[in-house]
């Protein structure tokens, strides 16, 4: 398999696994974490920061989620979904811009 296809297919496997495979957090919650959208209140401070300003995540953000009943294993999964979701949007935006630029070069 060419190297690019290899990387894109591993990326796809990773995204499919964390969103649709077995997990301790419900799949719809993992999808919201991935999309950074429609998050329940106790998860929002933690997961929005993971996506947009991860250096500012605090112990208190985890404590808010734990107090609301989320387990360590659920938070492990949801943080990963939030991180992979944001980097996936960036990766796909970069690849789309590359495809557009190549298309322009080839047709223009």
């Amino acid at each position: 398999m060419p190297a690019d296809e290899q990387k894109r297919s591993i990326h796809e496997l990773l995204v499919n696994r964390i969103l649709h495979g077995a997990g301790r957090a419900p799949a719809d919650e993992r999808a919201r974490a991935f999309d950074n959208a429609k998050l329940p209140e106790p998860l929002r401070p933690l997961l929005d920061k993971v996506a947009t300003k991860s250096a500012q995540v605090t112990d208190a953000d985890f404590a808010t989620a734990v107090d609301a009943g989320f387990t360590d294993d659920q938070l492990f999964e949801l943080v990963i979904c939030a991180a992979v979701g944001q980097s996936t949007r960036q990766y796909e935006a970069g690849l789309a811009a590359l495809a557009e630029a190549i298309g322009d070069t080839e047709t223009g």
């Binding site: 190297a3 690019d4 290899q6 990387k7 591993i10 990326h11 496997l13 990773l14 696994r17 964390i18 495979g21 997990g23 933690l46 920061k49 993971v50 996506a51 991860s54 250096a55 995540v57 112990d59 985890f62 734990v66 360590d72 294993d73 938070l75 492990f76 999964e77 943080v79 990963i80 939030a82 991180a83 992979v84 944001q86 980097s87 996936t88 949007r89 960036q90 990766y91 935006a93 970069g94 690849l95 811009a97 590359l98 557009e100 630029a101 190549i102 322009d104 070069t105």
Partner: protein, 193 residues
């Protein structure tokens, strides 16, 4: 780390492995390696394969270039653990401490070729703004970088935009300078598998 289960929730085999590594290397297993052993089926297995391909798979970027990209993206994400780890790894790969330090201090004036500079700038923009335009890509192509090299760099960007977020969120412990140097040596010898 937080949540606490990432410090103690490992099976007997990973725990023995961590102890063995500590004995043999004289340094604790870095948290970045540790978490790939926590429920590896959920994240670690695929993440390691992707990172290995991006960082050590076929590419016309050198290993040093890719490690420098990792350090640079980590700097934009303000991730102390990953800056330390990949600054040390890029430095050992290039055998050139000044070059790496110059890029991290000021990309515009660093003594590197224009293609690498444009590529790092592109990754920095994607990391801080979350998107790129076709115009941004054309600027990198004009600096002599190939389509393939841009695609390869975007994969490095994905790997470290993910890892930086996890390192910050899970609060990976920073290592001593000796610890980062030992980790860098391991990453150059064995990769990310």
């Amino acid at each position: 780390m937080r949540p606490r289960v990432l410090d103690h929730g490992y099976g007997i085999r990973p725990k023995l492995l961590f102890r063995l590594i500590r004995l043999m290397s004289g340094h604790p297993v870095p948290d970045a390696a540790k978490i790939t052993f926590y429920r590896p089926d959920f994240y670690g297995t695929h993440a390691k394969r992707f990172t290995q391909e991006a960082m050590r798979g076929p590419s016309t970027w050198s290993v040093g270039d890719r490690e420098l990209m990792a350090a640079y993206v980590s700097k934009v994400n303000d991730c102390p653990f990953c800056i330390g780890a990949h600054t040390a790894t890029a430095t050992q790969a290039y055998q050139d401490r000044e070059r790496v330090a110059a890029v991290l201090a000021d990309l515009d004036s660093a003594p590197i070729d224009e293609g690498l500079r444009a590529t790092l700038g592109m990754l920095g923009k994607l990391t801080s703004e979350g998107t790129l335009s076709a115009g941004d890509i054309r600027a990198v192509l004009s600096a002599g970088v190939s389509h393939q090299q841009i695609e390869d760099a975007l994969a490095v960007g994905f790997a470290f935009n993910t890892t930086d977020r996890l390192a910050n969120a899970f609060a990976f412990d920073a290592l001593s300078q000796e610890g980062f140097e030992a980790g860098a040596k391991y990453l150059l010898k064995r990769g990310y598998r």
